[in-house]
């Protein structure tokens, strides 16, 4: 394992703890947030708020740096367009998110907790990603 992998493992672990602590690894809690027309649990808004409050100054710092602390280039997305792929893809994702209360991070964390439903979700998610990549490759 090189320094980049060790650092990425720490980031993944911290992220995992954040999802567990915030309750967002629990799909019922996420669905409680998505149910704005029922008994609404606003917690997820505070998760996003807390993450962005920390992220704003630190991403601004990252933007100013030419390379990372470990010496890799800082790779920030350069794409600006709000196009059909972005909106349609986000809509498809949102519908899937609302069906079970899982998005990619919590799905993987709940898989780590060995929840059978989460394992099923994550395997299907990986298959969906694979199908998308396979189509993209074929079309180019």
């Amino acid at each position: 394992m090189n320094k980049f992998s060790i650092s990425a493992f720490i980031a993944g672990l911290l992220f995992s703890f954040g999802l567990l602590l915030s309750g967002m690894a629990n799909p019922e809690k996420v669905l409680g947030f998505l149910d704005i027309f029922g008994a609404w649990d606003p917690s997820l808004a505070l998760v996003m708020g807390g993450a962005i409050a920390v992220g704003l100054p630190l991403f601004a710092l990252a933007k100013k740096r030419s390379s990372s602390i470990l010496g890799a280039p800082i790779q920030l997305p350069g794409k600006r367009e709000i196009d059909r792929r972005l909106i349609l893809g986000s809509l498809i994702f949102g519908i899937g998110w609302g069906l079970a209360g899982f998005c990619p991070g919590p799905g993987i964390v709940a898989t780590g907790a060995l929840k059978p439903g989460a394992i099923l979700f994550t395997l299907c998610m990986i298959f969906g990603m694979w199908v998308f990549h396979w189509r993209e490759r074929r079309n180019t």
Partner: protein, 144 residues
């Protein structure tokens, strides 16, 4: 809209959010990469096999979280009420949708909004809207 005050957990939500923000900031400042989970996972499926080491390590960190947490503290509830059919459909839609949109709740939601990216703002509004609408249909129109 009525707020479910019994379910609302402002302190742990905020503290967990801060940890998620720190994790994302860590990855950009140390590795120079965006902590978009669908993008990191998607990159593992790509060909040719490029920078796989850090991606795999990040995913392993996510997976190891519950086990390491469990050494010190009881794991929080993870309640999954969706049927197997729903989980399969959800997984496929989330997998395809996040790759098509080049990001999910972490990449567009956390990292993108932290960078004040209009593109990520549009993505976040759209997937939140999709989620609200889907739960409305399932819980209040179909009564499931």
């Amino acid at each position: 809209m009525t707020i479910d005050w019994n379910a609302f957990t402002p302190l742990t939500a905020l503290a967990g959010g801060v940890l998620i923000g720190l994790a994302s900031a860590w990855l950009i400042l140390m590795n120079g990469r965006i902590a978009g989970i669908s993008g990191i996972l998607g990159g593992l499926l790509d060909w040719p096999r490029g920078d796989r080491g850090w991606r795999l390590a990040f995913v392993l960190g996510l997976l190891a979280g519950p086990a390491i947490w469990g050494l010190f503290h009881a794991l929080p509830d993870i309640e999954i009420h969706a049927s197997a059919t729903m989980l399969v459909a959800a997984g496929l839609l989330v997998g395809i949708g996040t790759r098509y949109a080049a990001g999910c709740t972490s990449g567009h939601g956390v990292c993108g909004l932290s960078r004040l990216s209009p593109r990520s703002f549009a993505a976040t509004l759209t997937f939140m809207g999709g989620g609200f609408a889907t739960v409305y249909v399932i819980r209040h129109l179909l009564g499931a």
